[in-house]
């Protein structure tokens, strides 16, 4: 299995490189960072525009620029933005902000999605199933920005009803907050609720549909009847044999679901004023900044890579055939 995973990893690294190069090339070709300068009134002297052009190395061919940028990336230097700040300084903080959203959203989304899907399958054609299906269908038909805006609206109503601020909907913490780490934690949580919910709701809807159908396939199977026949209770049989088998196809879905998560986080970060990677991407495109866009793309590619690799590992953990197959000398 080790060789299989390493080969997969090598392919992923190559994919990451190519993806970043494509994003860099596409951005270099479509962006015009000097346009903003030229639009100024009064127009800046030609020498200023020219020095800016030199600084951004716009005259060099794209592959050469990419090579020098990527050479810096390998050494931990992601270059400068159009306005002259170093990207590396801001990168760590932004990744932290985004990862917090990703991790919490994924954990809540996968756990609740699997639960909703399982309940729907076990209680098929009962109110709980219909409710879960309706919930999933409506949510999957709503774009993230609508869900976020509606949650914001709901949060406002909640605050009005409670007469005090229960949840916040801008930023990740209150900068003017005084008090110990206890109140800081509460403050962070109050800021965290709505964005995490925005991310998680879609994940729940997405995973619950697949989990429900995977579980339905398992429910009619022979091995579940065997498990009951050897004396397990219905609950034990469902959890130990049913759920585990139904989770196997979910491992592959997990890798696909990640793209959804990344796109969702772009909207979420923008709506709730979190300065993460998704927000940076939109900012980078608005500023016509190739380096920012390439950095975000590299981050996204690495995250998809990690989740795909995790999915492979998860697959091997859940499905003994994968492990035994590799022991037998297959690939």
């Amino acid at each position: 299995m080790g060789g299989f995973l390493i080969r997969r990893l090598a392919n992923y690294v190559l994919l990451c490189l190519v993806a970043t190069f494509l994003a860099y090339a596409l951005a270099s070709l479509t962006f015009d960072p000097l346009a903003r300068l030229a639009e100024r009134n009064p127009p800046p002297p030609a020498a200023v525009v020219e020095s800016m052009r030199q600084e951004l190395r716009l005259d060099e061919p794209v592959p050469q620029r990419f090579a020098s940028w990527f050479g810096g990336v390998v050494r931990g230097d992601f270059g400068r933005t159009v306005t002259g700040q170093t990207i590396s300084d801001e990168l760590g903080r932004r990744i932290g902000v985004s990862l917090r959203l990703f991790l919490l959203g994924t954990v809540v989304g996968v756990a609740a999605g699997v639960l909703v899907g399982m309940v729907g399958a076990v209680r098929q054609h009962r109110p709980a199933d219909y409710l879960g299906t309706l919930f999933a269908f409506v949510l999957l038909s709503m774009p993230t920005f609508l869900v976020g805006t509606l949650l914001k609206f709901g949060g406002l109503q909640l605050n009005l009803a409670a007469g005090t601020t229960l949840v916040y909907f801008t930023g990740e913490y209150d900068p003017g907050l005084r008090g110990g780490w206890g109140s800081a934690l509460v403050d962070r949580l109050q800021h965290l609720v709505l964005p995490t919910l925005t991310i998680a709701l879609h994940q729940i809807a997405y995973y619950s549909r697949y989990q429900r159908s995977a579980m339905l396939d398992v429910l009619g199977s022979e091995f579940l009847r065997t498990a009951r026949a050897k004396g397990l209770t219905r609950r034990q049989a469902l959890l130990r044999h049913g759920l585990r088998t139904a989770l196997v196809p979910m491992a592959t879905l997990f890798a696909f679901g990640f793209g959804l998560l990344v796109t969702g986080s772009v909207f979420t970060e923008r709506i709730f004023g979190w300065y993460g990677m998704g927000d940076w991407l939109v900012y980078g495109i608005e500023q016509q900044d190739t380096n920012i866009v390439a950095t975000v793309t590299l981050f996204v590619a690495v995250m998809v890579l990690v989740s795909g690799w995790l999915a492979d590992v998860l697959y091997a953990v859940l499905d003994p055939r994968v492990r035994i197959g590799s022991l037998g000398g297959h690939r």
């Binding site: 392919n11 993806a19 098929q124 054609h125 709503m142 805006t149 016509q288 793309t297 996204v300």
Partner: protein, 332 residues
């Protein structure tokens, strides 16, 4: 099996260069019977019919609605700024006095048209790429599937967003084509998987041994045999395309002003959503309704075309009914 024989026969006659009319009668009869069967199953599903009727109604409304309303989507009413819904402005007005109803209808037109176009185009690309990869195998397959993997690592949202400055100032058609060019990967994978199994079927082999060119086999024997999958996926892709379009337009990376889409409407409306909810609620409601209906139709089609997907459920239901019956019998 019957399908295989029929296909082999058709392949034979076409190979001989004639006999079309002889084959046409039984072929047409059988096709219409299966079509009628699927139609009956589809019509039996209430949610699917609801979806189909509503999506048709929405499309008609999007084009007829503006004719009924007194205002145009670019017109400004200087006597009504930020008014809630009333008899003269059915959905209220914006900050500069634009009629929200007229704008919403215009946006609905754009979003539905782009969604339909992109859904169909991307499914077409997916069918061709998937079938070619699966049929030829070898390095063609490896290259195409590697491309699919690459586009999964590089989400299409990113690509279209980065490319957006290139079509600023151009018509929405370019944007739609770009969306279609990056929305086919998942379907292509499924098509490839199905092609791998179809490739080894008797009728495809027969056609190959008779010397049919590969593109002909793909177009006449492989793709028609997964028509049901393609129909379902095209429907579901329409929903995905509408969501992608509105998402990109939300950031200004899609449909450009002065033109509007539901995405740009929600974007401009949500800035003051907390105090003036009518600015985005109608656009949001129509968007959700449209995508929901498309998804319901897709789900209904899946159930109608492939009842085996629902067979497992019937078995479980039957078992439960039997168990309940036994319990009651034991109690009596």
């Amino acid at each position: 099996m019957t399908l295989g024989v029929r296909e082999a026969k058709r392949a034979g006659t076409t190979g001989a260069g004639g006999g079309g009319p002889v084959d046409a009668a039984p072929d047409g009869l059988r096709a219409s019977t299966r079509g009628r069967l699927v139609l009956r199953r589809f019509l039996r599903s209430r949610s699917a019919v609801f979806g189909l009727v509503t999506i048709a109604a929405l499309y008609v409304l999007a084009f007829v609605g503006p004719l009924l309303a007194p205002w145009d989507h670019t017109q400004q009413d200087y006597s009504a700024f930020l008014r809630p819904p009333s008899t003269s402005h059915w959905f209220g007005t914006t900050q500069i006095g634009e009629d929200v109803f007229a704008q919403t209808m215009r946006g609905l037109q754009k979003s539905l048209t782009i969604g339909l176009l992109v859904g169909l185009l991307s499914t077409l690309v997916a069918a061709v790429v998937g079938a070619v990869a699966g049929y030829f195998g070898g390095w063609v397959d490896r290259v195409l599937m590697w491309l699919v993997d690459l586009l999964l690592v590089l989400p299409s949202f990113l690509v279209v967003a980065i490319a957006s400055p290139a079509f600023r100032g151009h018509s929405w058609v370019l944007f739609a084509l770009l969306l279609a060019a990056f929305g086919w990967m998942l379907t292509a994978r499924i098509v490839r998987g199905m092609t791998l199994t179809l490739r080894e079927r008797e009728f495809v082999r027969a056609a190959r041994f008779m010397g049919q060119p590969s593109w002909h086999i793909i177009a006449r024997h492989i793709l028609p045999n997964m028509a049901s999958l393609l129909i379902i996926d095209a429907t579901l892709n329409v929903g995905t395309a509408v969501l992608a379009e509105t998402g990109l337009s939300y950031f200004g990376f899609g449909v450009q002003p002065p033109d509007v889409s539901l995405g740009t409407l929600i974007a401009s409306g949500s800035r003051s959503a907390l105090t003036f909810p009518w600015l985005f609620l109608f656009a949001g409601g129509f968007l959700t309704l449209a995508v929901l209906c498309v998804n319901l139709v897709g789900d209904g089609l899946r159930a109608a075309i492939d009842p085996s997907a629902a067979r497992g459920t019937a078995r479980v239901r039957g078992a439960r009914r039997a168990r309940r019956f036994l319990r009651r019998a034991g109690a009596a």
